[in-house]
Symmetry: C2
Subunit: 172 residues, 2 copies
């Protein structure tokens, strides 16, 4: 019965959520709830899409990186993004740099402090058809965030539907 259920789930969720047997393993190794997204190996080495600063409650500096399909799509203006695209959003605490400010002679320099968390958008138009073709995940210190937080990803990204739910523009 367990294996039969696993087989059904595999049909529904596709390769990344292959079977119930793999779910505990995904969690152990950093798989996130709802979408089953794991931390993509080597993402910290991906190419830069753009940078941003979110003030307010976020209070972060962030970089948005893309795997090769992401970069190709961005640079060619391809929409929607192809399956296999992964976009990573890294955020660090927005931190005044005392050393830099001394040089500039005034408090103007803000740098990346400790890491806050990392988010991923994974494009799989079939597996994630119900959420615009994207699966979402957030990790803090390598551990996935709760399902409750991931519930907010898709509704928040929905206004960017015309750009395949992606907010970030490529920085020239």
């Amino acid at each position: 019965m367990k294996h039969a259920f696993g087989f059904l789930l595999a049909l529904v969720a596709g390769a990344m959520l292959a079977s119930t047997e793999r779910v505990p393993d995904q969690t152990d190794r950093g798989g996130a709830p709802i979408y089953g997204v794991k931390i993509p190996p080597g993402y910290r080495d991906w190419k830069l899409i753009s940078v941003a600063h979110e003030a307010g409650a976020n209070n972060d500096l962030r970089a948005v990186l893309g795997n090769d399909p992401a970069m190709q799509a961005y640079r060619k203006g391809t929409l929607p993004f192809p399956d296999g695209t992964i976009i990573a959003r890294l955020a660090w605490v927005y931190t005044a740099s005392e050393a830099n400010n001394k040089l500039f002679g005034r408090p103007q320099s803000f740098v990346a402090g400790p890491a806050i968390n990392v988010q991923f958008m994974v494009k799989d138009s079939k597996q994630y058809a119900a959420t615009g073709g994207w699966g979402y995940a957030q990790f803090k210190d390598g551990k996935p965030d709760t399902a409750a937080k991931l519930d907010t990803c898709y509704p928040c990204h929905a206004p960017a539907k015309a750009r395949d739910y992606v907010f970030t523009y490529y920085a020239p």
Copy 2:
């Protein structure tokens, strides 16, 4: 005579500033004054070291990227950086994102606008021995900035001598 002078200059300046015959070519292809640094091919694909925001007169969002020797040195904590290290600093106009602010319900989101300029630090402990082992360049729209502006690079970086004249820390 021209070739003799070129030979002498090659001895002094090393491989990157090989001969007087190459100087006009460097300028045409984006070589910067003083240090002769050219735009390194493919730098936009380099890996991310960190991000920052300079307020005040700069008013930018910036990313600092590194070539492979730079990344290896950063990740291993190697100081001084080895010859061949190149660190790129890309800056874009600090731009409020109206679209993002609508979603957040308040003016908190700042993204990368048009490109301002790109700077490079090139490590060559022999060629640039007089300036801490680093050659500096700044390019705007692919064209090198004036010698006068490059004069300020080394004095400004001098306070970071203990970190081999590099301000930027690696963002985890």
